[in-house]
């Protein structure tokens, strides 16, 4: 691990009673980079995000944030550390306090973390608003007076208010229309360039993830099946699930689209061996018996599939 690593997750698991929502997830993110978690419903991507912020407690595994093990933080230390990790949610309608003006919304996180004097906090709020391209007049308004895209800008400004090292964004543009989505995505990229913020970006939309992320992990039923640099994932996907996901999202109606059979199994009944085998076009006997280990394919790419035996580099 170099000093540049902001977040490093290893062997992370979370059980909700009998349901293993997240199983043995490992990844790390370097400063200023955006790491994408992509997957369908039940893949565990949002649970992983919440674990990383310790909004929920992991069953096992380690989360190192800025070089320290998050599990060892006392509640008071954790509260203080939250200043460095902020979250942006999908629903800009539900995530802003409707009774707070924009000014109060942007001052509150600073107040909570004891940042600045009252005058400085107001100044920061004004600067943040300018950063997300909202007029100064917005300060005295309330969330209901804004459109969905503008609310998401406010949520981004709030996330930046404590000048965090890490922002976890969970489906931040999924509720927005295409023309507005582009504005918000551009804004997030600009701000990240400017502040060198590290980002964990969660989305079901492969096109958005491709635009936003430097590295990507593809999740299926609580596990990472493949991860690596963006272009490796998009142009030389090794795992059959990644390949199918890409084909579903980008395919044309020419009959060549690789279709997955069946449905995503319930998290209560994860298949034995490889969790993907019930839908995999290439599944064979071994897949039901033995869980494939994650293999290093070189150039930073890793995938967990028996078909890759012999292709792995050691």
């Amino acid at each position: 691990m170099t000093d540049d690593t902001i977040l490093s997750v290893s062997g992370l698991s979370k059980n909700f009673k009998a349901v293993k929502a997240v199983r043995d997830v490992s990844f790390s993110i370097r400063r200023g980079k955006t790491f994408g978690l992509v997957g369908e419903s039940g893949s565990g991507k949002s649970t992983t995000a919440r674990l990383v912020l310790r909004l929920i407690e992991p069953t096992s595994g380690s989360i190192r944030f800025r070089g320290r093990e998050l599990a060892n933080f006392s509640p008071a230390e954790l509260r203080a550390e939250r200043r460095h990790m902020q979250m942006i949610f999908q629903d800009p309608y539900g995530s802003l306090n409707p009774r707070m003006s924009v000014r109060e919304t942007l001052i509150e996180p600073q107040l909570v973390h004891g940042i600045g004097t009252p005058a400085e906090r107001i100044q920061t709020a004004e600067l943040l608003l300018a950063e997300v391209s909202l007029p100064r007049a917005a300060l005295d308004r309330h969330p209901h007076e804004f459109s969905g895209g503008q609310r998401q800008r406010i949520a981004i400004a709030r996330a930046l208010a404590t000048n965090p090292e890490l922002i976890v964004a969970d489906e931040p543009v999924s509720a927005l229309d295409v023309s507005v989505q582009a504005q918000v995505l551009n804004l997030m990229r600009d701000l990240q360039d400017r502040h060198r913020t590290t980002m964990l970006f969660i989305s079901h939309d492969l096109r958005v993830v491709q635009f936003m992320c430097d590295e990507i992990a593809v999740m299926y039923l609580g596990e990472v099946v493949e991860q690596g640099p963006r272009d490796r994932i998009y142009y030389s996907a090794a795992h059959p699930y990644t390949q199918a996901l890409l084909a579903s999202a980008t395919g044309k109606r020419d009959g060549k689209r690789a279709r997955l059979k069946g449905e995503i199994p319930s998290a209560h009944a994860v298949p034995s061996g490889c969790a993907f085998r019930t839908r995999c076009p290439h599944a064979f006997e071994r897949c039901a018996l033995e869980k494939p280990a994650i293999r290093d394919l070189g150039l930073g790419q890793k995938a967990a599939c028996h078909l890759l035996d012999g292709q792995a580099v050691s």
Binding site: V178, S179, A182, V208, Q210, Y234, L246, E263
Partner: protein
């Protein structure tokens, strides 16, 4: 229960001329009456769908695509004032009284909604919902309707159809629910199917399966399909022709492939440039500045002009929907091919 047969239904079959148009919408306008008077929601929408053809009605939230669909279905809200003509299989249905319109649903028009959980009945078994529809519209006996329902479920790829018929919608996954809705929509042999964002709520891999199924059904039964969506990429993949709407107006109408590849209206161009694409190496997307104007606050003249980089002097006057190179465009300064 009254038994209805195909012959007593209102739209008469037309001679197989003029490409066998199933649906024609001419100058459809919808306004909502409120305390302040009439609020226009959709203005002068015209398009047609031939047998076996899929036509997209595309645009962002608030463009009027869903209210257009509900006006065609005859389920617009009570305070809606509707003008224009809707012709189904050669017969005008827009002037029909509410009761007569209702009779067309199911038998002649099938519907697929975005959220099957709200469109299907939660406390009736899947079988009951399907057999009621079949018995009511086709006059089948209970036994015949049950057999037909099982066949339909089987046809849309639902395993163990007989068992599923006895179950409830909440026991099914999202993809399976949508399959049930497709089976219901096609159950009485309609000529037109209206699908309102049918795959938006589904996971990517399931979405692909459901789109394939809809495509198959369209080909097999030569259905005319109105496909309402916000996703232009889907339009290019799935539809023959497209109608793009903005702020209650049709802004472009033509072949889907042409519009997606080389749109003539600056708004359609803007939508395409705003989307991240597969293989996108752009450092920035090209957003459309501003936001969609809310209903009641449409600009005078061209409604897109305040957000348009090509806007000029003429745009204070509302442009007509005029024939351009390959499509019909409502713009004074349309883009050339490949521009």
């Amino acid at each position: 229960m009254t038994v209805r047969t195909a012959s007593d239904s209102t739209p008469t079959a037309q001679p197989a001329s003029a490409r066998e148009l199933v649906l024609e919408v001419r100058d459809l306008s919808v306004s909502l009456r409120n305390a302040d008077g009439l609020l226009p929601i959709v203005t002068d929408v015209s398009f047609s769908i031939a047998k076996g053809e899929a036509v997209a009605l595309a645009g962002e939230s608030g463009c009027g695509k869903s209210i257009t669909a509900s006006a065609i279905m005859g389920i617009a809200p009570d305070n809606a004032e509707i003008s224009g003509t809707i012709i189904l299989n050669g017969a005008a249905i827009s002037g029909l009284p509410h009761r007569e319109r209702r009779k067309l649903c199911g038998r002649h028009m099938g519907f697929i909604f975005q959220e099957p959980m709200t469109a299907l009945h939660p406390t009736l078994t899947v079988g009951r919902q399907m057999t009621d529809t079949l018995r009511h519209n086709l006059g089948l006996s209970h036994a015949a309707a049950t057999d037909r329902a099982a066949e339909l479920l089987d046809r849309v790829g639902i395993p163990r159809a007989r068992e599923i018929l006895k179950g409830y919608v909440h026991e099914l996954s999202g993809g399976m629910r949508q399959r049930v809705m497709i089976a219901l929509a096609i159950s009485c042999g309609p000529s037109l199917v209206i699908a309102d964002e049918p795959t938006t709520a589904l996971d990517v891999t399931i979405q692909a399966q459901v789109l394939d199924l809809l495509d198959e059904m369209r080909r097999e039964f030569e259905l005319a399909m109105l496909f309402i969506t916000h996703d232009l990429e889907l339009v290019g993949d799935f539809c023959d022709r497209a109608v793009v709407m903005y702020a209650g107006d049709v802004v472009e109408r033509g072949r889907a492939a042409d519009i997606v590849r080389s749109p003539a209206h600056p708004y359609a161009r803007g939508l395409i440039d705003a989307m991240p694409r597969h293989g996108d190496q752009r450092a920035r997307l090209t957003p459309i500045p501003g936001t969609v104007p809310p209903v009641g606050h449409w600009p005078q003249g061209c409604r897109f002009a305040p957000r348009c980089s090509r806007a000029g002097k003429k745009c204070t006057v509302r442009p007509p929907l005029a024939v351009h190179i390959r499509s019909d465009v409502r713009c004074w300064y349309p883009l050339k091919v490949g521009q």
